[in-house]
Subunit: 204 residues, 2 copies
DNA sequence: GTCTATAGCATGATAGAC
DNA sequence: GTCTATCATGCTATAGAC
């Protein structure tokens, strides 16, 4: 009988460490995400770290990539095809806010991590990609909405998508600060009301 | 002749250290703002730190308070009284973006610092105050615009103020990521166009 | 692959001479 | 008040036994 841990593939280890890193991040913030804290949270010896990730920034990159995938999946999970444009916009902005509300501590920590990534030359591409992917996804949705020809947008989809992403971001940021559900709902309702003026057609 | 530094009031020293902290913050990010880096940048011995600030968070507090004052002053510096509502909104959102554009490195670093402040129980009140002060200032402006009775808002000023702050925040965040001036201008123009639909009156 | 031990360095904070 | 020297701790990363 040895105390040696079972063999696991490096990829499994990496996932395990990313999980642990997210947990530390949520509970104690970016500054507390040290190689020691992560391995300790994962229940692994410290030495594990450096044969799974070359450096600490490499772990951050893995965390950001994981986050990007989950956030994209969550943001567009609900189907709003049956709704009128204004209600769809409300639903979309609310869905984004809901992911923030579902786990504010993680959302707050991810803001910290993204801020760090934007400054780190080795991580900027992940931050870039995250924004691009978001705008592109929103734009694709906006264009799909007009496929049935019942209405059209009176503004370029790209610009409208950027506006909606900026709104979703700003509203979530504000909510993270004051946790005021009613105010956030009112802001979203007003945003949807004004944005719906860009609809031209029978459904408007 | 001694090498001893001249006496300066503690308040002067504190200002000196806050300046240095902002410089380090801008150049190397939050993680690089150590007591040693700050005193060294200020050209002062390390020991200076702890008789000006009790702890490092106390320095961060001072930096945030300074930042709040300068940001508020800059954001509402330009007088837009002569403009119609839509142009005023464009001017306001552009003014906010311009402070970001004038010094992106500092803006990026302050995002990091605010993210940290939102998580630190000892600094949350500064972050709270910053948001409240911003919304209140925008709301005051919105209400002042209707003083001449030439138009009125068809939405509550508080909600409209929150919407505009969320927009300004989201637009600046997006610009910090892609540095796309044209896209930011288009987003602001569209935001102003939709928001101006909330104007009821002769000036609309 | 797995783990222990440790190198090598930076940190926040303090003690104590002047 | 001012400054030097230092303490105790924590960090990333690596070397090397198994």
């Amino acid at each position: 009988m040895t105390t040696t841990q079972e063999h696991r593939s490096v990829e499994e280890r990496r996932d395990q460490l990313v999980d642990a890193a997210l947990a530390v991040l949520r509970d104690e913030g970016v500054a507390a995400v040290t190689t020691r804290a992560v391995t300790s949270r994962a229940g692994l010896p410290h030495g594990t770290f450096h044969y799974c990730f070359a450096t600490k920034p490499a772990l951050f990159r893995a965390v950001l990539e994981r986050q990007l995938r989950t956030a994209m999946a969550a943001a567009f999970a609900t189907d709003t095809a049956a709704l009128a444009p204004e209600a769809r916009i409300t639903a979309g902005l609310t869905a984004h806010l809901d992911t923030t509300r579902a786990d504010p501590a993680t959302a707050l920590a991810l803001v910290e991590l993204f801020a760090l990534a934007r400054r780190d030359p080795g991580l900027q591409d992940v931050a870039d990609w995250e924004q691009r992917a978001y705008v592109a996804a929103v734009r694709a949705h906006l264009e799909a909405w007009t496929d049935d020809r019942r209405f059209r947008w009176t503004a370029p989809p790209e610009t409208l998508a950027r506006l909606l992403v900026a709104l979703a971001d700003g509203v979530s940021t504000a909510w993270l600060q004051d946790r005021d559900d009613a105010a956030a709902a009112a802001t979203i309702a007003l945003a949807a009301r004004t944005t719906a003026t860009l609809v031209d057609g029978s459904a408007s």
